[in-house]
Subunit: 188 residues, 2 copies
DNA sequence: TTGAATTTTCAGAAATTTCTGAAAATTCTA
DNA sequence: TAGAATTTTCAGAAATTTCTGAAAATTCAA
């Protein structure tokens, strides 16, 4: 299967970028191909289109399934396995965030927590622990926020993002209505 | 310079994680070391502590400077170059987001835009262009949102993130006050 | 200037990652 | 249940990335 020139450029680019997003070149290319292709594809078609070995495609498809980014789809009268992307672009973006969080952030948080439990033996260790605590708190805040955003409906999430600088005004409005308790306490 | 056991674990872990964040193992280790060390360090100290070559440290420091994550600092009476991390953990996190955006998202957006300018020659290409447009719009929305968040003061940003599920209520409140224009139009 | 101290560079070595393709395993049909 | 179709596995090959260390370049003090 020969790809049109623009499709080729897109697939190759996402191959390069894929490595930034946690998978290797060919895995990125396979995903990109499935994203722009209107119909489900089988492993042989993918191998031929991307000029990579059958074995490599098999491994790549397995990896993409473990990321929950593609889905197996059977085609009537054909014994081969066909694949399509799982959900919309938005869904896939969400999934990538979730999976990366699970694979990268969570293990780091555990390690940092374990580190915080131990007592500092001297001034230098005290300093180190403080920096580690800052990193821990930041990661925790970010992941919790991510969780909250994930609970919002796509529409609400989109309207929140499109607020743009309006978010600042909204926060002020909230503070006014809520009476800015903490600051009033300090002032009074 | 011998590190305490916990510091060693932290540095090694950030070496592994570093590769996820766009730089290689030793660059991650150098950054981690500078983060937890209370005083500025020179290249020889870093090389000795991490057991890596002087040349490798030189390259790593250059890379971290290009990321704007560390700063040169002179020590009175010493000709060697000393280095410290640039700003707080928060500052560094912001910088990493910014730099990654510049290095990864922006080039992708350019490529997608170029692709969208071309005309689709048939149904399949039409489909591909639609998916590409979805990716483009998502990336653009995300980066614009990131820009807006970056303009918020750290305090406001933190209070926004700590809102948690309150964000949903706040959005409803806004809709009520603003009169939910778009939906009213549809209904009427 | 000179030359000692320091940093940078970069060719080749080492380590790591990715890929191939043939053999093994699995699945399905008749 | 045989055997054809298909997928998976994985040892070794190929490609890529990272690292070393010695030489070149730079900086600085006298």
């Amino acid at each position: 299967m020969e790809l049109p020139e623009k499709a080729k450029v897109f697939v190759l680019h996402f191959g390069e970028m894929g490595s930034r997003w946690g998978f290797n070149r060919t895995v990125g290319q396979i995903l990109a191909l499935l994203v722009i292709h209107p119909k489900a594809l089988n492993a042989d078609q993918i191998a031929e289109t991307l000029s990579i070995s059958r074995g490599n495609v098999s491994m790549g498809l397995k990896e993409l399934q473990s990321w929950r980014l593609i889905q197996l789809q059977h085609v009537a009268g054909d014994r081969k396995d066909y694949f399509v992307t799982a959900g919309s672009i938005w869904d896939m973006a969400k999934t990538v965030f979730e999976e990366r969080r699970k694979r990268e952030i969570d293990p780091t948080l555990s390690l940092l927590r374990a580190n915080l439990l131990e007592d500092a033996q001297n001034e230098d260790e005290e300093y180190a622990q403080q920096r580690i605590e800052e990193i821990h708190d930041l990661l925790e805040l970010l992941t919790q926020w991510g969780d909250h955003l994930n609970t919002l409906s796509p529409e609400k999430l989109e309207s929140l993002m499109k607020l743009g600088s309006g978010i600042s005004k909204l926060l002020d409005m909230k503070d006014k209505i809520m009476g800015k308790k903490s600051q009033d306490n300090k002032a009074g």
